[in-house]
């Protein structure tokens, strides 16, 4: 094991295929590497296997064939070192829980502790909320927050686990453009110390700060962002795609 960035992949996928039960293959013969410090975006059409790929990386699904290594070990062993942020649309909006309690779930231990969360857990959760700019909302019901605020809370929950790899599934779905911009500024800041893998069906995020683009449509292609152009995209999505440019930030 060396710490040289070029030979220190955080995620290594080797000829992985996956299918649900006896169904058709969702992923076919996928091989890719994500290096430490990368900011990778997983894009592709809906139903193309993006979320499946993410779930394989965290070990929620097992590959039908092939091999995955995450942070130098198996996905199951690595999973507690991954900060995972699921799609917030999956949450029950009526669940009675306060913001700070949601963040503290990131401090859960495998073994039940008789006294529940400790003072240190509470402090760490407060710190993570401050990192995402929501330190004043800890006592609010999760259900009372806006979509953008909920995203930030779930990001704080992922951060409080002290992850080496941040894995975000469609973090920008349902956000307006201003909120989205703030969110991605925050991610760019975090990318200074964390490897980030981001799933998105919106090609717009590709522009600007993402370094590697992983295109998933049953099979996988990996591109450095600079190489990506219209023809690659239409090949993946199977048709003309309206590209949204996000590099419209005006310097003062």
């Amino acid at each position: 094991m060396t710490l040289n960035a070029t030979v220190d992949p955080v995620v290594e996928i080797d000829r992985v295929s996956f299918r649900f039960g006896g169904g058709p293959r969702v992923l076919e013969d996928v091989s890719l590497k994500i290096e430490r410090g990368d900011f990778a975006s997983v894009i592709g059409p809906n139903g193309g296997g993006k979320t499946t790929l993410v779930k394989l990386v965290v070990g929620l699904l097992k590959p039908t064939s092939g091999n995955l290594r995450v942070l130098g070990t198996t996905p199951e062993k690595a999973r507690t070192r991954i900060g995972y942020m699921p799609q917030h649309a999956m949450m029950d909006p009526q669940f009675p829980v306060r913001v700070l309690d949601v963040v503290m779930m990131g401090r859960l231990k495998a073994r039940p502790s008789v006294l529940g969360y400790s003072r240190a857990d509470r402090r760490a959760a407060g710190g993570a909320l401050a990192q995402v700019g929501l330190e004043d909302l800890g006592g609010r019901p999760f259900s009372a927050l806006s979509g953008g605020q909920r995203q930030r809370v779930l990001l704080a929950r992922a951060l409080v686990t002290g992850p080496e790899l941040l894995l975000l599934d469609e973090p920008a779905s349902g956000l307006d453009q201003k909120v989205e911009q703030d969110f991605f500024d925050l991610l760019r800041e975090l990318n200074r110390r964390l490897t980030i893998v981001l799933v998105s069906h919106d090609l717009g995020f590709v522009a600007g700060f993402v370094r590697t683009v992983i295109c998933v449509h049953r099979q996988v292609d990996v591109h450095p962002t600079a190489e990506l152009d219209g023809s690659t995209i239409s090949a993946i999505y199977g048709g003309a795609v309206r590209m949204v440019r996000h590099d419209h930030k005006v310097e003062p």
């Binding site: 507690t80 669940f95 009675p96 829980v97 779930m105 859960l108 495998a110 039940p112 529940g116 009372a144």
Partner: protein, 283 residues
Amino acid sequence: MSEFLAAVVAYPFLRHALIAGVLAGIACGVVGSYVVVRRITYMAGAIAHCVLAGLGIAHYLQVARGWPVRPVHGAVAAAVVAALIIGLVSLHVREREDTIIGAVWAVGMALGVLFIALTPGYNQDLMGYLFGNILLIGRGDLWTMAVLDGFVLVVGLGMYPQLEAVSFDEEFARLRGVRVDLCVLLLMVLVALTVVLMVSIVGIVLVIALLTLPAAIAGQFTSTLRGMMALASLLAVSFTTAGLALSYSPDLPAGATTILVAGAAYLGVLGARFLLTRLRSDI
């Protein structure tokens, strides 16, 4: 009301019924809150109806075969078996989950009816099993209930962070290393034991209402799961007590009265909330 209070002083069976209502009510608030936030009312219903199989089989073995078992033992066994089957189904066969749960529900009920019919003698117990007979609770039953209640509370509150996280976001909890499958099965067993606790009070058919209504009302007033549990427990205890008190003088069934009190409270809270939002939006 004074007649009821005098009767409580005079008759031990009423005191037993009141204590049973308190024991069941507390467990009901804690476990019912998990049931409501996880949206597994249907599973709890199936478990409740399987209790009839346990009651019927144990009663048959006791009366017809002379085994030293009591119906409550059968109830615990049947509820736990049903809970484990339903828990495993929900974890592993997601696609046909509702069909299988429906089947478990009906088969449990059918087994119970069969064994009750096979048991010699009058079968006046059937109505008690289905709709509750709080007046049949003896001192021995109270001890069994206290033990079940203690277990439910120790596990349900002791594993609160894990169960809360699993209920809120199962996948995330799994990634934190929480043994989600074990938590889900444990929660189903807690539901089973709580159902058994309540069966003597409101009966198999009415259990679901007492499990969900207090938690649903509490959910309108609290923003945390623990707050919901505390308030739901308080409400459940109040409902069983009110049900007993109100039904005593006119000689009404206590279980049905309890459920009607709970249902009226739920409708009242929803109605008041609806009117309040209407008033606010008018201003």
